[in-house]
Symmetry: C2
Subunit: 344 residues, 2 copies
Amino acid sequence: MKDLRRCLIGVAAGFFIFNLVFIPALNAEEKVNSKPFGIVIHGGAGYMQKERMPAEKDQQYRRKLEEALRAGYAILEKGGSSLDAVETAVRILEDCPLFNAGKGAVFTSAGTNELDSSIMEGKGLKAGAAAGIKHIQNPISLARLVMERSGHVMLTGEGAETFAKEMGIPLVEEKYFFTEERWKSLQEEQKREKEAAQKKDDENSNKCGTVGAAALDKEGNLAAGTSTGGMTNKKYGRVGDSPIIGAGTYANNRTCAVSSTGYGEYFIRLAAAYDISALMEYKGLSLEAAASLVMEKINRLGGYGGVIAIDSNGKIAMPFTTGGMFRGYLGNDGKIVIKIYKDE
Amino acid sequence: MKDLRRCLIGVAAGFFIFNLVFIPALNAEEKVNSKPFGIVIHGGAGYMQKERMPAEKDQQYRRKLEEALRAGYAILEKGGSSLDAVETAVRILEDCPLFNAGKGAVFTSAGTNELDSSIMEGKGLKAGAAAGIKHIQNPISLARLVMERSGHVMLTGEGAETFAKEMGIPLVEEKYFFTEERWKSLQEEQKREKEAAQKKDDENSNKCGTVGAAALDKEGNLAAGTSTGGMTNKKYGRVGDSPIIGAGTYANNRTCAVSSTGYGEYFIRLAAAYDISALMEYKGLSLEAAASLVMEKINRLGGYGGVIAIDSNGKIAMPFTTGGMFRGYLGNDGKIVIKIYKDE
């Protein structure tokens, strides 16, 4: 009898504990899983063609894009922030010499590397950017520090690096950014420039390589970030759209998060990244329609490039006007998509 | 009889010639006059108060604003371009030590002067900007050269000055920008910063002084330009909204031309100048409603400042959230309006 009572109490207690601990946990997990989240990235738009890309290099690009996507996704899946996901994904691309950002930055006409970056979060519309930096291994992380710690949005040149130093970011030597391939590109570009005026439809994809990411986290917060080495052989401290909030990067929880790549001047003149947000907010366009319309505008004006974007429901858009764009996404259905060329 | 015939022929010929020559001329003149045109300018938004402004200084500001307006207007009246009108008006304000742009630029924390500017035209959406320049007397003219001659939109620092030199713009020595008043402002600001954290509602109007102009010409072309010395005591190569197309300056013939002044970081985060254009184009708002809504957004986010804007019909808007804004306009009715404080 005593045993039976003990047993019943044990069962009741067990049932109680089960209800107390597991059912809410299951519910919570179900609830969290039902919330859309995802990440989309790019490694630059350009005139890459399948038939001219060595198979091994094609695979290297895809592997690195997958690594960046999975790293960002892992953060989102665990309930981490879209800002962390974006920063992490962009850092991976910055550290890879294949892309024109961080380690793989192209050379200016003076033979130096000058990097630009920006980041924005869509909840409070906070943003940070750094332009013309020469000694920062991961410009995207400096942009985030500018956003969170500087009281400003955009810092440039030596001043930006002084700030980085004060924040404890180690400065790297300029030679860190030296890669044989980019150096050759500079020589070729300078030779070509001597021979002829620059052609718009130049096949040299180094001209507009850039990396970027946009993400939606389980809290419904959007974020986007962009990082670049600029244009091969660029002169005069030229700044493109990458560090320009509204042109290269934008995020607003009410609409979407966007990162641009391409002929930056056109993206600035059209306030391209913000324009996608404005078309959604003011005209009620879908993300896909808004992003495509902005790329049409870029095209009509004589520019080229692409954008990646994610909206507050986790929908993805990746329109571009060039022969290809290194791109991919991973949403909460867990299916990864990675593409390079137009016709895939 | 012969005399009568001669007389009649003379009258008929006279009438014919009158019709042929004068009536089309009158019509043409009427037609030209009926085309709206106009110019609106600002000399910065800030916390200026009537009771604290010496009467003589109040008059100096008004006289200079009038000079700039009349110079821009004269160009428009003769059928000149809005770009010329904007550049001319801004140059006059840049040359005057009263305003925080050109000659009167404030000092950075390092005791230097670093100037930013931008310009845009609304027909082809061409734009130019220069940031962090130290040796250019009229930054607005450099921005225009960047737009017309560089193939880029934004040049920064020494690179921008190398380009200026190649374009034949003489570099001035840094001491050109030394003004006793701005130097004192720096000392005061640095003292204040030591004593306490910066207050948002600081009465020091040097914080957001900037100059700008927007104009509509008889051809229906809009243009806008902005020029600034930045924030007193600014650090780290900070760049505000003035050289950012979409934030500090925007122009589109379909909508309006805008120049911003104020706490630049907020104008960047909201893509403020472009947002006014987007609200008109996508939501059908009037210039006045669009400009006021954007200033409301700036205010809600915690920022402050103002904008001047003119639309494709010559309508003017000059909303601001601060105690005052040096501002004025002159349209084709020929009536000049110049204001400083909120309540006038």
